[in-house]
């Protein structure tokens, strides 16, 4: 349900003319939210931006998301980022 709420906030912000991108770990919901741009990370809920106290990983993910803010040119695109969850 967090993803439904992200989608509605994203739409409200984009309608003000502000460029937005969201991170999703539930692409099945985001695909129905009608948002401009999203990045899918195959991580568990609670960790969309990575693991705790792993600043290098978190920075890589945030940088990749910002790169997609520039790169995505087709409205409604969800790009899967190449990060994999390794923690057992």
């Amino acid at each position: 349900m967090c993803h439904q709420s992200v989608g509605l906030l994203q739409g409200a912000i984009e309608r003000r003319g502000i460029t937005t991108i969201s991170v999703t770990v539930r692409p099945e919901i985001t695909a129905h939210a009608n948002v401009s741009r999203a990045c899918y990370v195959r991580f568990p809920t609670g960790n969309p931006m990575g693991e705790p106290h792993k600043p290098d990983q978190q920075r890589l993910i945030l940088t990749a998301v910002l790169e997609q803010l520039v790169a995505i040119s087709e409205p409604g695109t969800i790009v899967e980022l190449p990060f994999r969850w390794r923690r057992m």
Partner: protein
């Protein structure tokens, strides 16, 4: 995307929330709005908006027990350290997010990207929601437009949104 597998997962999720939460009403934007980025990232002021239940430790937590959810928001100023934040949400495991709120709300990381010049600045104000709002119309019609107006008034060029 969407693929047949995603469609099936979405239908299962819709059924689940309808069974678990009285008044659940999946709400999406009527159509996709597209606001192109008008300048390079290195000239942009960036804000974070999260539905992970993030708030300053000094602020009241969201009402996680209300079956109708809680569409209120918490203002998180740009000089906030992740260690100033707490995370409350009953619908996902918040232990990692409370150990390091950057897992859901990467405010320390965003500040570092300003230092390295990847983005120009961190917006003056960021916003924390708790995304459990079963009837999305409550969020759409009340607080979402208020936060969108605030971001615009503060000169924010782009927003990164994160779930729990």
């Amino acid at each position: 995307m969407p693929t047949p597998d995603l469609e099936e997962r979405f239908r299962r999720w819709l059924k689940l929330i309808a069974e678990m939460h009285e008044g659940a009403n999946f709400t999406a934007n009527e159509s996709i709005t597209w606001a192109p980025l008008r300048k390079p990232l290195a000239e942009c002021s960036i804000a974070l908006v999260s539905t992970a239940g993030v708030h300053l430790k000094s602020q009241p937590a969201h009402d996680v027990l209300n079956p109708q959810g809680d569409a209120s928001f918490r203002e998180i100023p740009c000089d906030t350290q992740a260690s100033d934040l707490a995370v409350d949400h009953l619908h996902y495991d918040t232990s990692d997010a409370n150990a390091d709120p950057n897992c859901v709300f990467p405010i320390d990381r965003l500040r570092e990207l300003v230092d390295t010049g990847i983005v120009r600045s961190i917006a003056p104000m960021h916003f924390g929601f708790m995304g459990f709002i079963p009837d999305g119309r409550l969020l759409r019609d009340t607080t979402a437009p208020i936060v969108a107006d605030r971001l615009l008034a503060e000169g924010t060029d782009a927003v990164v949104l994160t779930p729990g």
